[in-house]
Amino acid sequence: MRAICLYLHIHQPVRYRQYSIFDVGSNSNYFYDDYNGRQSNERIFHKVARKSYRPMLDLLEQNVARYPGFKVSLSITGTWLDQAEKWGPEFIAQIKRMVDTGQVEIVGETYYHSLAFFYNRDEFDQQVKMHAQKIKELFGVTPKVFRNTEFAYNDQLAKWADDNKYIGILAEGWDKILGWRSPNYVYQPFGCNNLKLLLKNYRLSDDIAFRFSNRGWNEWPLTVPKYQRWLNDDCLRGPLINLFMDFETFGEHQWEDTGIFDFMKTLIPNWLNEYDNKFVTVSEACELMPPADVVSMPDTVTWADTERDLSAWLSNSMQHSAMHDLYAMRDKILSTNDQQLINDWRYMTTSDHPYSMCTKYWNDGDVHAYFSAYASPYESFMYFENVIRDLEYRASIILDRNV
């Protein structure tokens, strides 16, 4: 038996606009930019919908209908769902139809795509609960497998997932942790009883997600027969290939004209054609085999950059100060009981915000700069802090009134 576990992550942050200090206290529409503005959430959603959500969801739905053996797992953030309800409700309906077939599984995570686990455990618990409720409400299912924002994983997180009755958790299959071991097995996280650990096969995942259209890559162009040969070779290291990637890989990171959709359209039936090959969802993968070994990750590992740590989100003093200021005001915000204010505050916990303040590679104008909604990390931080000031102000007004 050989199985591909295909898992795609669907997310959009709710971006704050270029929010001036002169707006603080007079205008709280941080999340609304003019349609053509750089931080227009609506425009960006429509753009990605056109390039990625629509064609890729159609592709997945067709394959689900055509091949009962095709399975896929999706993690969908609450911030994406909030925006899809406004600007693409048809996508939610489409995902619901696919979930109903039993071939598509939804993975649990924080509602706001936050790093709350590292700042405030109560907030983390609450955001995970909110997400589970939203998934239940929209799709009628309850997530059994968990993934933390940015794949930020450590032993403590595994312990938490085990205590909270998840059957599986996803993480990066990083060589430094695995050593000679292969990511193509199911593992047992250190200190856990029932929880299974699924590790991303980052080489085969990144061949599609990052390298597919790179003409400087000596394997370009990547054809289906070539990729299938690699899959077959890799199965010698273990029978389970975990292909974990962003949903936007298809159409947004790799544009349609790179042939990415045709590649997937061919790969799925070709893989299923071979004897004993199948696709599994994340929870099926957990049930597939007993754990091969115990894996421990005392230090946090993520799926970003070559360091695979949290430094893209939390290394310079702007990022630390932004997160500190944000979580320091949590009690005050919650004590207002103002749902709108609390929700606005939670939108600020999304990890994309500190990511856009990263200066690690900023001078080289690399991937961080390319994907940023802001002109510079410094501007992102400036507007973030202005929003924080307005949230603080709103909370004070409400609390003063209540006294």
Binding site: N316, W362, A375, Y378, F381, M382, E385
Partner: protein, 407 residues
Amino acid sequence: MMKILMLGWELPPHNSGGLGVACLNMARALSKQGVDIDFVVPYEAEHPEINFMTIHSATHLDPIYRYGGGAYESLRLLEKIIPSIDKNKLVSIRDVQKSYCEFINDYLMDYKPDVVHAHDWLTFEAGVLAKKNYGLPLVAHVHATEFDRAGMHAGNPLIHEIEYEGLMMADKIIAVSEATKRIIHDRYKIPLNKIDVIYNSLDDDYATSDYHFEEDSYGYLKKLKSKGYTVVSTVGRFTVQKGLSHFMHGAALAISKNPKLIFVFAGDGEERNELINMAADLGISKNVIFTGFIRGKRLRDIYAISDIFVMSSVSEPFGLTALEAAHHGDCLILTKQSGVSEVIWSAMKYDFWDKQKLADEILAIVDNPALRETLQNNVRHEYLKITWNQVAKKCLKVYNNVKHKRN
């Protein structure tokens, strides 16, 4: 060995601005790369510290006469400004340029360089002459265009014409930034592939020389800082090019949110009285200090005592002062219209007219120590990466590219 005839207008210590400093550093770095340089200046004076190249004087004038008072001032005005000036020696800048051309024409009869490298419109006529009369390849180096000097409006038509001819005739043009390259292309219709961008660098001596902040200078500012004030400074000529009236309005906006701000305008120029008036009209005179023209140590002291340096230019071919300020630990706020903003990433940026964004950026740096710290730390890694050695290497490439065009 490559032989270069460099046509310039000034060299330290007889310089009035950045042009002389840039020429000196460039020539020094080129000579280290094995280039043989003859440098022509339009005056006669000693350059005691320059021994790596030969300096030729095109005239017997004293250095102070070389601009003939500048392209814009009449001789009568000049008499008023410098009473000590010798009326009989007073010639217009066009006269100086004419003599300069005559000198070059004579000089080239005996000496044939591989390439002629002319700096700015002042020497372009001489460069064109070298090309026309002697078939020498010409590199035109643009440190600023007349459009820059005129705040992006039309400037002196005669200067435009000279600039245009030089750019048309040149075999290759070196611009000090992409912004300058754009102007050369957009305004003079020069094809983009004829223009190479070579950024200037901080003076080699600047980063290495001993400098100690003098405790006593600007004691008033020090006192204010100890009371929690933040010092925001700008340095330059007070001309329309520098965008200082927009800056003043931005300053007023920032002060309306945070009165503990002191703005230092270091420099002088025709807009001085207007700026003083404007500060008064905006009701912020108490927060604005005019230092007058300063240079050397007193200028470095201003950088040193400042927390934030603003380059507010409507158009700025490069903007070396920003690198100097960064060296002294200032956080930088640069207009997107400045050349330096193309190479420095660790800075806040804004459009010169966007006074609210400028105010936002000043206030953000004041209110967020984390922002200040990150800007300061990161810019340090950046400005040291740009060196004159790299500039020389790129110039050499340009020379090699054009030297076969000699006929």
